[in-house]
Symmetry: C2
Subunit: 356 residues, 2 copies
């Protein structure tokens, strides 16, 4: 009877895939032995000979472990969930890249779930909650939330059921660990660079002054100037819409406001898109970059910065590193290790190109 079922089983196997039992049978051992070998358990006593027989059987049958079954039995999934609006607004894709690569290195799987672009005030909790819920159904061991731009967010209630780390955003109320760019350091680095190039009269094209990026970068600029014994002239700070057009207009204002000798010799644009507009304003006036006006940007949007003529010197947002660090932090959390700081700042490095 048992014999007659074997061929049936073999047929079924072809459909269902090879299981550990098949391997065991092929190797002439018990399924337990196979399990021991595959997970190479230290204190299990398996002779070298049978270990080889089992490994051969694995090869021969093309056995492929069933991750789901393994997760079920072992009560650990090796999955992290990443909820992000980046899928929707791919400004900061590199966060995903960094997280994905790091997860891959750690032999973990990243389940990515989309979230709506959430506004700072009342996030569209619908999709976000659903995404979180779905991820928890997959029994992820931890959650990551990533935002396209640095800001405060509200995470769904259920996120608190597992270790959670925020990337490029921070928890408005609670106490979740977060990874954010060191905007202030970036601002400092940018203005320092201009100072080093001999500029002392520096115009700033600002973002919406209320967002964390603007606050931090401007503060950094102030610090750098202070380090050189200078102050930030409020008249030289113009806020604009965070687009090329906004940058164009702001640059026009700054450039046209003064007679030539009082005109700033450098512009610190708080993002690259605005720098792109500033380029046009400068060129229109017959001025050269960086000869007459040096320009430094922020964000390092490759497609802009690397292709503008001259190429734009800018400060990079460390998306990839933040993604990786997020996964590392989560790994530490799920392993029960204590996290050093609630908020980790990641350096924004200067990228030298040709506009300063």
């Amino acid at each position: 009877m048992a014999k007659t079922t074997t061929p049936q089983k073999a047929a079924a196997v072809r459909q269902r895939g090879v299981t550990m039992s098949d391997v065991a049978q092929h190797a002439g051992v018990s399924r337990t032995a196979v399990s021991f070998v595959l997970n190479n358990r230290e204190n299990a006593s398996i002779s070298e000979e049978t270990r080889i027989r089992i490994n051969d059987a694995v090869q021969a049958l093309g056995y492929r472990p069933n991750a789901g079954a393994r997760a079920l039995a072992s009560q650990r999934s090796d999955w992290y969930g990443l909820v992000t609006e980046i899928v929707t607004a791919p400004f900061a894709v590199d966060i995903i890249k960094g997280a994905q690569d790091q997860a891959w290195l750690d032999h973990r799987f990243l389940l990515i779930a989309p979230s709506d672009q959430a506004d700072a005030v009342g996030p569209n909790q619908g999709l976000e909650d659903a995404a979180t819920e779905k991820l928890l159904e997959q029994r992820v061991e931890g959650l990551l939330y990533a935002a396209t731009y640095h800001r405060g967010v509200h995470v769904p209630e259920s996120a608190h059921e597992v270790p959670t780390v925020l990337i490029n955003c921070f928890d408005a109320d609670g106490k979740l660990p977060s990874i954010v760019p060191d905007e202030r350091g970036g601002g400092r680095v940018a203005v320092d660079r201009l100072l080093r190039a001999g500029h002392s009269r520096i115009g700033v094209i600002n973002l919406d002054p209320h967002i964390p990026a603007a606050v931090g970068r401007l503060e950094g600029a102030r610090e750098a100037l202070a380090g050189a014994g200078l102050e930030l002239d409020p008249e030289l700070v113009v806020s604009g819409h965070a687009t090329a057009d906004g940058g164009y207009e702001a640059a026009c204002q700054i450039l046209d406001r003064y007679p030539q000798q009082d005109r700033p010799t450098a512009l610190f644009c708080l993002n690259d898109r605005m720098a792109m507009g500033a380029y046009d304003a400068i060129k229109e006036r017959g001025l050269t970059i960086p000869g007459d006006i040096a320009v430094i940007g922020f964000d390092n949007q490759e497609l802009i910065a690397a292709y503008l003529r001259p190429k734009l010197t800018t400060v990079a947002l460390p998306f990839e590193k933040m993604g990786a660090l997020g996964v590392q932090t989560l790994a530490a959390l799920t392993a029960g290790q204590p996290i050093t700081a609630d908020q980790q700042l990641v350096d924004c490095p200067l990228l030298e190109r040709s506009s300063v």
Copy 2:
């Protein structure tokens, strides 16, 4: 005995999460009944009253199904795997977005695995094979392969074990269904637009002439010209490096080659980056866009096209739609439906902005 284990179980439950058995117990029914209700099986006879009791218990306990266990028992995972180098080189992120959104709509989960940027000849099979293997271990029901740019690829052997669809690339040897942009149609649309604007002498800034994108777009341009009784002047086609610099140089060549009256009045740039360089070449010569020279691009790289001044009219690569269509095709395949065509072409729509 059974009673005394209950509190232990309850304690364990707190750690492990609520299971269907807990729900059943809370509702005073069998686990089977709960299963029937949750999957609302048609032909199962459950009274309205107990159905409500069970749903209440689900709410009360905050029960959350275990996707892995469900997959194990039902032998279907509702998971698709997406192997892509886009994670590595995020040029075509919108493919992921389109696929992700569509999968979400279909109540399926997309597992995204990274692949190295593969060159056309010998793809780095290492990571790709590993990624595929990992996805199969997760028992995905189907696989998607997405490339950053339209080209031929080799998929790992094991991909043939489940339904597989290629997005933005095609199978060099085998016969896998694929979704690719209609490059030819896009070329036609672009040149048609220029013809409609009254241009008859059109310069073309070409990509590497061997890649599918160049072949198709150029062929489309030829068709459009033929439709107007014109021919493509080979002298007006200049190939350049696919960058802003390459576009700049190619544009210089074309613009400087002829006396003003013979100069082309429009440029068809086969990608937006090259158009960006062409802009500079044109502006440097004191010419205006589109007054003196009209420019049309291809790819619709938002960060470039929407921020150039004037904004660039271009033909969009339908990344998002390709992603969605990929998932739909895969859904049809896994459902056993026959696929209409081996290769599906997706329209490349014209995006009118201000450069024509």
